[in-house]
Symmetry: none
Subunit: 212 residues, 4 copies
């Protein structure tokens, strides 16, 4: 399945699958469910994607391509301070996740298993790419003397990924515990976006620099 070569029906299917996998998990979703939600003939899924597994793979190929595009641009465009670049990367990541919530829920579930499937390869690839990009910026900051010398990037990334993913996957709890049930979904999304911006920036700042 070559990326970007999906026709309308295929996208319908992937979209339906995305929401269902996010909600009920891969195994908890039947191809029948997907066909129904996508308003597509049951056999079309095998016809287009070969199998349910391959549908998931295609989805990851498709989505990971959609996501990994502009990071490079972000880094190179800005000539500002390393911390500012980091900030914009953080914002970018949070935005992406909040835009692609269902897909991230799927990732949270599927990354649990360290199997060597195509899907895990893709996740690892995404992680690596993200890590390298931020690594370069951080190194730059270190060279410039603005960042600490000893920094555990993977751990910092884990913190960011973990905090954001946890917020997305457990927003229901967060909403209840913060008494934000009166907000619309969109308003609530804005609230957590801003909160995550601020919070993660502070964490990165205090972890990377010596400033308070």
């Amino acid at each position: 399945m070559e990326t970007g070569k999906m026709n309308e029906k295929q996208i319908q299917i992937v979209d339906a699958a995305e929401h269902l996998f996010a909600e009920k998990g891969f195994h908890g979703t039947s191809v029948r469910d997907i066909a129904e939600k996508a308003q597509v003939n049951l056999a079309m899924i095998s016809y287009y994607f070969g199998s349910k597994d391959q549908l998931l793979e295609a989805m990851f190929e498709y989505k990971s391509n959609l996501m990994a595009t502009q990071l490079e641009v972000l880094v190179h465009q800005s000539n500002s301070e390393p911390l500012e670049i980091i900030y914009s990367l953080i914002e970018h990541y949070i935005d992406k996740v909040l835009q692609q919530q269902p897909f991230h829920k799927i990732m949270v579930r599927e990354q649990v298993v360290p199997s060597t499937s195509r899907v895990q390869e893709l996740i690892l690839g995404m992680r690596k790419r993200n890590l390298e990009i931020i690594h370069r910026v951080v190194t730059k900051g270190q060279v410039e003397g603005r960042f600490k010398k000893e920094i555990d990037f993977p751990l910092l990334m884990t913190t960011m990924f973990g905090a954001v993913n946890n917020m997305v996957t457990t927003q229901y709890y967060y909403r209840a515990l913060s008494n934000l049930e009166h907000l619309s979904d969109e308003e609530f999304k804005q609230v957590i976006r801003e909160k995550l911006y601020k919070h993660l920036k502070e964490i990165f700042k205090s972890t990377l620099t010596n400033e308070a």
Copy 2:
């Protein structure tokens, strides 16, 4: 299923299920798999737990009780500074998660869906309990003038839960990215324990206090 009233066979089953659910997900695991792994007759699972769903519930009841015990003790025993108490709570939480890794992987998966099942109730309950405990300590710190006045507890908790859970569920990636494959599982566990201790303490410190 009353908690703490499990016999040996029941514990065998729950243990087997725990590992399989963690690895392959709830729907990805068949009761046959569980019976096989637990070396128990297939029908015994229904016999003891009624159904696969109820087995999961029983597991959550059982485990959540195992986990929620000593937090209170920790808080009340120590008469030291609020930050020290917080630190010990953080350590305690990290220890628990690292000890109960399979169970936490299950939680990560199952907490995704905001349904109103018994399981989600239990997760919410655990979260609430944890939140209240830390809330009290933080409030104490605020009253004593040691902590900032404006603190978003749920967000801070989300960060801790997220970072730790993400580390646990994606340790495979972390290990690869940090070039720690040469360590034994146990050594690696020690490493991330210490890293998480330090890292989260710093985050809490910088978030709660005005110190660097």
Copy 3:
């Protein structure tokens, strides 16, 4: 399983089974249901009766003995006219069925299959005995010149059995169609008892004799 040698627990079981078989059929009832209704340990059913099948057999032995007792007496005691004897036999049969409704419902279900099980043997035996008794009376009536010469007893019996059984098994429909829902169960029972008395006597009279 010798008849009449049942202890209290066994009778409890048979009673429970009787009602459940009547309501849900033999196969539709599980031994668990029976044990529960009889408030008896599950294993006791196999223990006392050997198997579910044998429980049914024991029930039939027990019940058929209970039922077949006084018919002979009825015939011999009365020296009155044949038609009067027939009448009292009809009444006796109707009374028995109305008293033993659950058991008759079971019979209606179980007599459907012409297998050669012990149960069907018992049903056939009961039928034969009943037939012989009425046959003797009818023959007497014929000899005395009061009854027609050509009479199809089995058909007449079938009519009686069929009408009464159908009334018992479908009393729900009859009650609805006759607008008798306002009556209590006991009152309704009295009503259909009297109706069946009268109706069947008329049928027997017009079938057996030349009178209007």
Copy 4:
């Protein structure tokens, strides 16, 4: 399941199920048995009917429609005497039952329980329809002064249903008791058809009219 829209495979299944349910009862028959007898894949039964219960329902919808067709015609076509119309209705009913013996055996079993399932609804519907039709004819006879004024239709119907059903379900006994084992099945069917014709006509005549 829309009536009359069954394809060949579906009819195969329903036919197989009909015979098995008649012989062994609904619960005594497994879907495996049905699939085997219908020479059809096991999964097709769920595929076409959803479940075993729904298969029974579909069967009842299908059969009850097959049966309820020409009664009206019978009544309206004949301009003859009420009693003659009644006679033709009786014959029609007996013919139907003898043609559809397996289905009637199922009805006898299933009508026992006064639950509010779809199946019982359908049985009640059939009964009501039949009752209304004969009711109109009887009323006509009463208006014309040919029939008695006080007649219990439901009871008379019960007698007819009961006698015919009992004959069908217990024909094995009847055959043995009447020494008709030497006849072929078809011959035996003819015999009981004629016997039931004659017998039920006499019963209706003597019940409805004042003639001998």
